[in-house]
Amino acid sequence: MYNPYQLTNKTILVTGASSGIGRTTAIECSKLGAKMVVTARNEVRLKETLDALEGCGHQMVTADLTNPSDMEKLVATIPELDGLVNDAGIAVMKPVPYIRQKDLEKVVNINTFAPVLLTGSILKRKKLKRNASVVMVSSVASMGSFELGNSIYGLSKSAIKTFAEYCAMEVKNREIRVNSIHPGMVATSMTQNTSLSDTEEMDFSKYIMNRCGKPEEIAWAIAYLLSDATLWMTGSQLIIDGGAHLA
């Protein structure tokens, strides 16, 4: 069957795969035919993701990506990749006068340092094949959606957007591409834990689609960036926010 979006014969690593967007991305990619390597810290939840993957030959590696030796272990374990999805991340809401160094370190360590160092380390070990695709899961917080109290998160996500562009320039000779994706609010445990209201009762009037996003709706866009349909796309930013950027 004709399908330029398929992922058969591709091996793809997804970080943050024990929950939310990362888990759904892993599942959807497996349905499109990919062999998955899934990683996160929580072994039980990661195993649930592994069990939910379609097909066989998938692999899970537990790792705390803020821990250098875990990162090294992960990079040593993984096979050569056709795709890398840097999804793991956290959110902390702090008004500017209350930002402390430890808040900054906590967020930037996982949201910025981890994807930069993981991508670098995988490249160094030559574990990204020619024509591989790297996806940075950034956010609309780096694309002009300035939610009050979200500055630390926003700066951590802006940094990886910019990094994706620089990285795209450096890996072009091997035709590896690097793009970032910028979701608006998606119903996951992250949004449940950080917001001061339930996604159920939030006001989505600024979203043209009048609701928050579903993890699948981000996963499908990530799958698109991983597929050969985007071989000519690099250094791009894909905003998926139910049209909120128009409001």
């Binding site: 809401m93 702090k94 008004p95 006068p97 209350y98 009050l148 109290g149 001061l196 339930d198």
Partner: protein
């Protein structure tokens, strides 16, 4: 933990309300300047001063400043 101190700390966060009018029985959700940013600021102040993490539902449950104080005290215990 002192209620009086907490009220003072709460007043420090306000920019527009008349401090004289703020007391233990003030229904803080009804203040004109109550906003999502003020809510986050309250959460951050409580974290900094009392090392207690209050959640959305705690803020919702509390009607008055004293209610909020009692929730923090309970969590601290």
């Amino acid at each position: 933990m002192e209620l009086g101190t907490f009220i003072q700390q709460f007043i420090e966060l306000l920019e527009e309300s008349d401090a004289e009018q703020i007391s233990a029985s003030t229904r803080f959700h009804e203040l004109d300047e109550y906003s999502s940013l003020l809510a986050l600021t309250i959460v951050a102040m409580v974290d900094e001063e009392y090392d207690v993490a209050i959640k959305a539902e705690d803020l919702r449950k509390a009607q008055t400043i004293e209610d909020l104080f009692n929730i923090i005290k309970e969590k601290k215990a």
